[in-house]
């Protein structure tokens, strides 16, 4: 049962919301009192997005400080979400043509308001059933002690999340960060170097480019299989080459760090064509007059590359960082499943692999759902960052 005094808790975001929207209204030249009223209501009601389903359980007597902290974060997040949404609506409403259709030329309009909904119906139905509903169900699952096959489920508040503050999960997060950083940093450096080479104007460059780009079509699973055979400690051709050069073969996928290296190498190879493709497109758009001006000022080739080309490529680089991170978060599953299955000793178990193991192999749906939400938050963060930086010019996802 929620204690009525808990409602006082909502007064804090209410006050902050009042100030926030009062300021926003004044900036737009509207009465600040209205802003304060709307802001107070929004700030106070926003946290209920999370607190009603949870029934304020994080603030019950006997809860640990960590639960309270998560509760506090949820209250703040709910208020922030609601306030940002209201602020957006207010801006659209009160700023003439700020975000309207004005950028596009006006297209001829067909009549009828029902037809567009009929046209959109298949898309909307599928999105609701197979993305929105599972997303909501996932949030619900994350508060339950739910096991696949067991009919009884129990509400456990945020315990599934507090259980994540544990060494095992830190290890999974660490693996994810190490592997995605490796893929992004080395993958992009190698791709840029190759793209720069393929950008040179020599005869037959079109053929070279095709030869460099097509590995894009190879799947993560196939990349895993090929690297599994190449990096086999006994029969692998890589160890054979090392031995030919006078070294001793390495225990690749049987060693934690070498295992991570193998996963990173397979992923870099799989993403190479894709990255090169975008860097090639980017290199074509580097302003030639800037390069010429730099050459006239006496900059050598490296200085021109470092000071003109790389900065001009930064939007593409940022876009590729996001897509490569998304790749490292999700699509890498096939590669890992074939190469290491999360081993050795959990060294290549990344977040998506852990979700699969928990939810599907160990039937711990609640905890898997909680981990999905952690990953979800990372994706939202990335997407927001991407939109902030590059606007709507580039997108990812389906």
């Amino acid at each position: 049962m929620p204690d009525p005094s808990l409602l006082l808790l909502l007064a804090i975001p209410g006050l902050i919301g009042a100030g926030y929207l009062a300021y926003e209204f004044r900036r737009l030249g509207r009465p600040a009192t209205w802003g304060a009223a709307i802001g107070a209501a929004t700030g106070a009601l926003g946290p209920l997005i999370f607190m009603l389903p949870l029934n304020f359980c994080t603030f019950e007597a006997g809860r640990k400080p960590l639960d309270m902290l998560i509760g506090g974060v949820l209250v703040a997040a709910g208020a922030a979400l609601a306030l940002e949404a209201v602020k957006y609506v207010v801006r659209v409403r009160f700023t003439p043509k700020a975000l309207g259709e004005a950028q596009h030329q006006q297209q001829g309009i067909f009549r009828g308001w029902l037809t567009p909904f009929l046209l959109l119906a298949p898309t909307l139905v599928i999105l609701v059933l197979f993305l929105y509903y599972p997303a909501i169900d996932n949030f619900r699952l994350s508060t339950l002690l739910a096991r696949l096959g067991t009919p009884r489920t129990a509400f456990v508040c945020v315990d599934n999340f507090t259980r994540l503050f544990h060494e095992d999960y830190y290890q999974v997060v660490f693996n994810t960060l190490v592997i995605s950083t490796g893929i992004v940093v080395f993958g992009l450096l190698i791709s840029l170097a190759i793209a720069y080479l393929a950008f040179q104007q020599v005869t037959g460059i079109g053929i070279y480019r095709t030869l460099l780009i097509w590995p894009y079509a190879v799947s993560p699973a196939v990349a895993g299989i090929i690297f599994l055979v190449m990096f086999d400690p006994v029969a692998g051709v890589i160890n054979h080459f090392i031995e030919l050069l006078g070294g001793t073969g390495l225990q690749w996928i049987k060693d934690p760090w070498l295992g991570r290296f193998t996963i990173v190498a397979a992923s870099i190879w799989k993403m190479l064509g894709y990255n090169v493709l975008f860097y090639l497109a980017g290199l074509q758009n580097v302003p030639k007059d800037l390069l010429e001006a730099a050459a006239i000022d006496g900059a050598n080739a490296w200085q021109r590359f470092r000071r003109v080309t790389i900065p001009s490529l930064s939007p593409i680089t940022f876009f590729l960082i996001v897509t490569n991170v998304t790749y490292a978060f999700f699509d890498i599953f096939g590669t890992i499943d074939f190469l290491t299955k999360g081993g050795p000793a959990g060294a290549t178990k990344v977040m998506i692999y852990e979700i699969y193991e928990l939810g599907i192999l160990e039937y711990d749906l609640g905890k898997a759902a909680a981990q999905s939400i952690v990953l979800f938050l990372l994706v939202i963060g990335l997407t927001v960052l991407q939109f902030r930086t590059t606007g709507q010019r580039v997108t990812y996802g389906a």
Partner: protein, 293 residues
């Protein structure tokens, strides 16, 4: 005087006149060709090696023989007849064609609705569609698995196709593309009394082949490469897609058999590579877009 000028002319002319430039180009640029050759070889090496291994017996693989082996026919028979590779391939082709076509059609319809109609809540609906960019199916597998199983769709073609028919990327792309077409088109179509669907398929689609082609490459490759979801929801081997099916080829006789596994991997990579090479032009010129789900 004139000789001096002639010499200067000769010294600078080769850089300008065409045959001279060609003559100088080859010695000056040979190292770029060399570098490109080496790079192409390294990038292509994993697949070249896979092709090599797919012709070999285990003994030939482990003795690191770098000439084509003797077992291509045996390996082919093993994956095609002893194992279900043909079945897996057929399932994947069917799935990729259905989902790619469905996604393209639904995205075209959505683009049409967003650009050529005015309706209440348009921006809200658009935001609703666009927000799904942030919900990769992979994150939702656990909940999706529960939902799809509760529909009784476990082990059916529906389970791997229907959830992927809608596309925020596609809707977004076609919306952008249509919005930048000249307004005269839609005005003329309305004067002629064309219905929205006639307008879409007779006017818009023929003007959108680049976008359609680019989207088709991405969708096809995405669907073809799907792994986690089919692995979870499809248990019946006869319905399995090729990416997951490859896993069952690890052990053909006792122990890891490299040849059949590599051959299967190479065969499984052919359709997306063919699609990519066929649609390379629209893909390169079509747009700047990326990962799909």
């Amino acid at each position: 005087m004139s000789t001096a000028t002639g010499q200067t002319m000769q010294a600078s002319a080769p850089a300008l006149s065409f045959p001279g430039r060609l003559r100088r180009l080859i010695p000056r640029r040979w190292y770029i060709h060399l570098l490109l050759w080496i790079t192409c070889f390294i990038v292509g090496f994993p697949v070249l090696y896979a092709m090599l291994v797919s012709t070999q017996t285990n003994a030939e693989v482990t003795s690191f023989q770098f000439t084509p082996g003797t077992a291509l026919e045996f390996n082919f028979r093993a994956v095609m007849f002893e194992r279900n590779l043909g079945r897996f391939m057929l399932n994947s082709v069917l799935l990729a064609v259905v989902v790619t076509t469905g996604k393209t059609v639904l995205s075209l319809l959505a683009g049409l609705a967003f650009v050529y109609f005015r309706f209440p809540g348009k921006w809200l609906v658009f935001g609703f569609v666009l927000a799904t960019l942030m919900m990769p199916t992979e994150i939702l597998v656990i909940a999706l698995f529960r939902f799809v199983s509760s529909l009784g769709w476990g082990d059916t073609f529906w389970a791997i196709s229907v959830p992927f028919l809608a596309s925020a990327t596609g809707s977004f792309l076609f919306r952008q593309h249509f919005a930048n077409l000249p307004a005269e088109l839609s005005e003329a179509a309305q004067l002629d009394g064309a219905t929205p669907l006639q307008f879409l398929f007779r006017v818009l689609v023929p003007l959108s082949w680049n976008t359609v082609g680019a989207l088709a490459v991405i969708q096809f490759v995405y669907v073809w490469n799907m792994y986690l979801w089919p692995m979870l929801i499809i248990k019946n081997e006869a319905l399995q897609v090729v990416q997951v099916g490859l896993g069952s080829l690890r052990n053909v006789d006792a122990g890891l058999t490299y040849g059949p596994l590599m051959l299967a991997a190479v065969i499984a990579s052919l359709p997306p590579v063919i699609i990519f090479i066929l649609l390379q032009k629209p893909f390169m010129s079509g747009f700047a877009i990326t990962r799909d789900k």
